[in-house]
């Protein structure tokens, strides 16, 4: 049990996170205080939610680069709805946000499923299209805190049992994913499609539909996060969460989710997101300029993917040398 924990990807990552916390707290004890850690978790909640959605997509050998644009567009739409109709109840807004995100995920999924377009091309395209639409509907204007209704802004910050709703949302999504991935036919289909699409077809799984379902899931979570993000930061404009899609992919890659599909766990994605979240929050504490963050997450992606490749390579017998590895 302990041995397998040490060998597992999640074990190493958890140890790395603990070591990181330990190093920081020797110099800055306040950082490791429970209250601050809860803050860090709350800060990382959007990343956790999106990383889990992305995990489903990557498991099926696809990638969704449009999540940040989806988030921003949904956020802008609900913020504009809120300014136009301040009396709209929060549950309805949540529903609209999730529905809108689902719709955008469905567009990605259908293009991948029905037209067989490579996912990276589809989502690179929809990423710019969704961003562009934000500009068109908002006219490039910002929606600021004073234009939003108090109930709209208060929802993600409301404290229940010591944690804000935003954190609880992330926890709910994590639990939902553990059930979905580990206990449902769809979750198994994600792994089957990514692990071996040909074999998946013969076991009666519709590869395209499973990939589409993953995109829809990722889109729905992006929509949910869109509302939470805009309400928490109390501002909506064209560029919110710009470049966040890379951070989401980084969290997955660091968490040991293989970009070749079929390998990965909910715990890995969660830890990957937490690792990035802690680094991000620790930088100002240890007095390093925030400009370092981009380079750090870039290096983390490269190290993690190199690590994944070497740890996955030992699996299975090599019958034929792979072309890329030879020479």
């Amino acid at each position: 049990m302990i041995q397998s924990l040490i060998k597992s990807r999640e074990g190493i990552l958890a140890a790395a996170i603990l070591a990181l916390l330990l190093v920081i707290s020797t110099r800055f004890p306040a950082f490791a205080a429970p209250k601050n850690l809860a803050n860090v978790f709350n800060d990382t909640a959007p990343l956790i939610i999106l990383a889990l959605g992305q995990m489903a997509v990557i498991l099926t050998r696809c990638i969704d680069l449009s999540v940040a644009a989806n988030l921003a567009l949904t956020g802008m739409v609900v913020a504009m709805l809120n300014t136009a109709m301040p009396d709209l109840p929060v549950p309805l807004i949540l529903l609209i946000a999730v529905a809108l995100g689902t719709l955008m995920g469905l567009v990605n999924g259908l293009l991948v499923w029905k037209l067989d377009i490579p996912p990276i091309v589809v989502t690179l395209g929809t990423m710019t299209i969704y961003r562009g639409i934000i500009f068109v509907i908002s006219g490039g204007e910002w929606i600021n805190a004073h234009e939003m209704s108090p109930a709209f802004k208060a929802f993600p910050r409301e404290v229940i049992l010591g944690l804000p709703v935003l954190s609880w949302m992330a926890i709910l999504v994590v639990i939902g994913f553990i059930v979905l991935v580990g206990r449902s036919p769809l979750g198994r289909a994600f792994y089957a499609v990514g692990g071996n699409p040909h074999a998946a077809v013969y076991t009666g799984i519709n590869v395209g539909r499973t990939q589409c379902a993953a995109f829809v899931l990722s889109g729905a979570l992006a929509g949910l996060t869109g509302y939470l993000w805009v309400a928490r930061y109390a501002v909506a404009y064209v560029d919110i969460a710009g470049g966040f899609e890379l951070e989401v992919v980084a969290a997955c890659v660091i968490g040991g989710i293989s970009i070749a599909g079929g390998i990965g766990s909910v715990g890995g994605a969660l830890l990957g997101a937490l690792f990035l979240g802690i680094v991000k929050n620790a930088l100002p504490v240890v007095n390093i300029s925030p400009f370092w963050q981009l380079a750090i997450s870039g290096s983390a992606i490269i190290i993690a993917v190199a690590f994944n490749a070497t740890s996955n390579r030992t699996k299975g017998r090599v019958i034929l040398k792979k072309a890329e590895h030879a020479l």
Partner: protein, 338 residues
């Protein structure tokens, strides 16, 4: 590129019994269709705005695509071989930052050019080493280096900017060789010819196609797959360095956000030019025409006062439509036959 393959590997490529005649192939080619689009865009533009047909305006319009096209040529080869490099725009940022840093230390123009090319080569070598040395998927590696290279620029520059480039450095981005023919346009033409020869008339070019169609087969037919791919990453890095020199010279300043989002436009240009994103097919003339189409569309929109971000919607739609339309057509044809 594992991700791009996805499900389409299942179907497999069909090879016809007999090749059609060259004329027939030309008449049904993607390049001819694209040429038609280019002419149509040109005509629509000249009707839409009275300022379009002015030679100096047209000359200005070429700056919209020359720098991106320089990278697109190398990217085309890389994509044909089945890899991709999403870090090109970040290489521009890093190379430009390095040049700006050198200017502060008093470097002259020839040294700046060497630095720009050197940084480009080094970044390309880094990508190539990670992809071919460790056998990592290029898409993830270059998403990583995309953050890393631009991240280094941000660490060096923060919210500041480098200016004060020597006056003769301005020639690369602002100079004219003859009348309205700019240095960049000449460079674009020369590179187009060089890359067309490299891809279509040399053993190296054949090897690129073979690798894209069947990497294992390429290996067994004696092609050094890793070495060719490494060379292609070097080449892409080098061309990004060239683009960095031109762009920095044209803007006369370096910020860490320089050329932000260009990787998307370069990939769009390549795909629009008829290069299959799955690798193995496409031509350089296609990329050249695609560069003109994108440049003319952007310039035409600009003359009509359409904001840049709205143009990006159009480019995103173009990217998807260009790949989707032939597939829809094929599906409809297949349905009619059965």
């Amino acid at each position: 590129m594992n991700l791009a393959s996805g499900t389409s590997q299942v179907s497999g490529r069909q090879i016809p019994d007999r090749r059609r005649s060259p004329l027939q192939r030309f008449l049904t080619s993607w390049e001819l269709l694209l040429l038609g689009v280019a002419v149509a865009v040109f005509i629509i533009n000249s009707f839409a705005s009275p300022y379009f047909l002015d030679p100096w305006n047209l000359s200005d319009a070429t700056f919209n695509f020359t720098e991106k096209a320089l990278i697109a040529f190398a990217m085309a080869l890389l994509i044909i071989s089945g890899e991709i490099d999403l870090s090109v725009a970040s290489i521009i940022a890093l190379a430009s930052t390095a040049m700006g840093f050198a200017v502060q230390l008093g470097a002259d123009t020839s040294l700046l050019v060497l630095i720009g090319l050197g940084v480009g080569l080094a970044c390309g070598a880094f990508n190539g080493f990670l992809v071919t040395g460790f056998g990592l998927p290029s898409i993830v590696v270059t998403i990583g280096t995309m953050s890393l290279f631009r991240g280094i620029s941000y660490i060096v520059l923060g919210d500041k900017a480098y200016t004060g480039y020597p006056s003769d450095f301005a020639f690369f981005g602002q100079g004219y060789v003859w009348w309205v023919i700019s240095f960049e346009l000449v460079l674009f033409a020369v590179m187009a010819i060089l890359f067309a020869i490299l891809l279509h008339r040399t053993n190296f070019g054949r090897a690129v196609y073979v690798i894209g169609n069947n990497p294992v087969g390429a290996l067994f037919s004696g092609i050094r797959v890793s070495r060719v791919k490494f060379t292609l990453f070097l080449l892409t890095g080098l061309m990004s360095g060239v683009a960095a020199i031109c762009l920095t010279s044209r803007l006369g300043a370096t910020r860490p956000s320089i050329a932000f989002g260009w990787e998307l436009e370069v990939v769009t240009m390549v795909v629009l030019g008829g290069i299959s994103i799955l690798g193995g097919s496409g031509t350089i003339p296609g990329v050249v025409i695609a560069a003109f189409v994108m440049g003319m569309v952007t310039f035409g929109f600009g003359l009509l006062n359409v904001p840049g971000i709205v143009m990006s919607i159009f480019i995103g739609l173009l990217l998807i439509a260009v790949i989707a339309l032939p597939r829809i057509a094929r599906q409809l044809l297949a349905r009619r036959r059965t």
